[in-house]
């Protein structure tokens, strides 16, 4: 299991625990935790609706991939810390990370 912190659109923070051996991605965990993530395309990096910022722990996660950047660039706003949560696999790299939901595209 890994533990990381999620900040919602209103600034409320909550620690989330997720299994790191089930092949989940971060978008799936956010949805399962009842966060209002739309994830229109279901995790193909094709819609940009699971946009998050990695506030702490970005170094371990690396940069956004090309398919992510294609989507992020299309959004009205994005940041150097922006990622698509569907492209982040749950692994021990996320331990202690802090992510913030971005969100015009909420459920």
């Amino acid at each position: 299991m890994v533990t990381f912190t999620v900040e919602d659109q209103d600034g409320n923070r909550q620690e989330i625990e997720a299994p790191d051996d089930m092949g989940f991605n971060l978008m799936e965990i956010l949805k399962a935790s009842e966060y209002p993530v739309l994830a229109t395309c279901g995790g193909m990096a094709l819609c940009g609706t699971c946009h998050i910022e990695v506030l702490e722990g970005k170094d371990g996660l690396g940069d956004a991939t090309d398919p992510e950047l294609d989507q992020l660039e299309n959004l009205p706003e994005y940041y150097p810390t922006s990622r698509l949560s569907c492209q982040i696999r749950i692994s021990d790299i996320l331990e202690g990370a802090v992510i913030r939901l971005r969100g015009e595209d909420v459920v």
């Binding site: 193909m44 660039e73 299309n74 009205p76 595209d105 459920v107």
Partner: protein
């Protein structure tokens, strides 16, 4: 009722895979369909978001490209001559004295139907809007989120914002039509089609368009209608541009939209239905596919197909109140076109 009202048995809101298959199931029971979709083409998110992606869980197709599935569903529905209103959003549903409905779209198209089927997926795809304080004040008064008719922009000062394919393509096209096109993009490079990006740089080099890179929209101003777009450039300096029109092109995102106001029971942006026939709490309105919810719901295309078949057998009573429905197999009866 309006004289140019479209009359049909069933009005299907949403022309995605489930809406299209519903036409086939309705046709087997001799019910005619008119479909309305906010997108300009059929296929819903399959055509809009991932046309070239393979799908692996359609029964009988080990692998099928999303757009091929849509094309095949259109072919399958063809014998039943569905009609379409595309690029328009359904805004109102008005119940008639006899229990039927008149549907009104954003472009004032009227459809009279005995039954309404909501197959709206995740909602209507609507343009993403930039976060600007007085944006809404100028919507329809200079701010347009799509180019429906390029002539609308003839001899006008147009600012286009965005860095995707549509921003590039419309900048190239409108350069020939508008008085002046200014393309604003937040980065130094474009991730859209390299050919289009090269054309845009070429047009800018030849002075045919103004290309402002590493800049963001900051403010829109005007008196009753849009007059200026204020940008913030890479040095955090404001830059004011005379503009009759601003076209922000930041992609589309689904919103539930007016469906939320039709008196249906809604849970987390989905319509609650009775799993016996996928009816909503409002008589003659059904909801199938990703837009509905019930205990155990799976948002899969194949589940939507199943829901379409079941709900059509329930809707039959409203279209043919005096007839008894008998269940028939296509292997026995074939597909009897209208």
């Amino acid at each position: 009722m309006n004289t140019n009202t479209i009359h049909t048995d069933l009005c299907i809101i949403g022309a995605g895979p489930v809406g299209l298959f519903a036409v086939f199931e309705a046709g087997l029971l001799k019910m005619r369909c008119h479909l309305i979709d906010a997108l300009p083409q059929v296929g819903g998110q399959l055509s809009e978001i991932y046309p070239q992606k393979p799908i692996y869980d359609i029964p009988g197709y080990p692998e099928v490209k999303a757009q091929d599935l849509v094309d095949n569903l259109m072919e399958q529905a063809k014998p039943f001559q569905p009609t379409f209103t595309l690029g328009e959003r359904v805004d109102y549903l008005n119940r008639q004295a006899d229990g039927s409905f008149v549907v009104t779209t954003s472009d004032k198209t009227h459809v009279h139907a005995k039954v309404i089927i909501i197959a709206g997926g995740l909602g209507c795809f609507e343009p993403r809007k930039p976060v600007l304080t007085n944006l809404e004040q100028f919507e329809g008064k200079g701010i347009n989120y799509m180019v429906k008719n390029p002539e609308h922009f003839r001899d006008k000062n147009v600012v286009i914002a965005g860095g995707g394919d549509s921003a590039l393509d419309w900048s190239i096209y409108l350069a020939k039509v508008a008085k002046r096109v200014t393309l604003v993009h937040r980065n130094e490079t474009f991730r859209g089609a390299p050919d289009s990006a090269a054309k845009v740089f070429d047009l800018a080099n030849r002075g045919k368009i103004d290309l402002i890179l590493s800049a963001n929209l900051k403010e829109v101003t005007g008196n009753g209608k849009l007059e200026k777009v204020i940008l913030e450039d890479k040095w955090k300096q404001d830059l004011s541009i005379d503009a009759d029109h601003l076209i922000p092109l930041f992609g589309l995102s689904p919103k539930l939209g007016p469906i939320a106001d039709w008196g249906l029971s809604i849970d987390k942006n989905a319509i609650e239905v009775d799993t016996r026939d996928y009816s909503t709490g409002v008589e003659r309105i059904y909801a199938i596919g990703d837009i509905n919810t019930y205990p155990g719901k799976l948002k899969l295309i194949l589940c939507g197909f199943h829901e379409a078949a079941i709900m059509m057998h329930s809707a039959f009573k409203y279209v043919y109140p005096d007839q008894k429905l008998s269940f028939k197999y296509t292997t026995v009866n074939g597909v009897n076109a209208f």
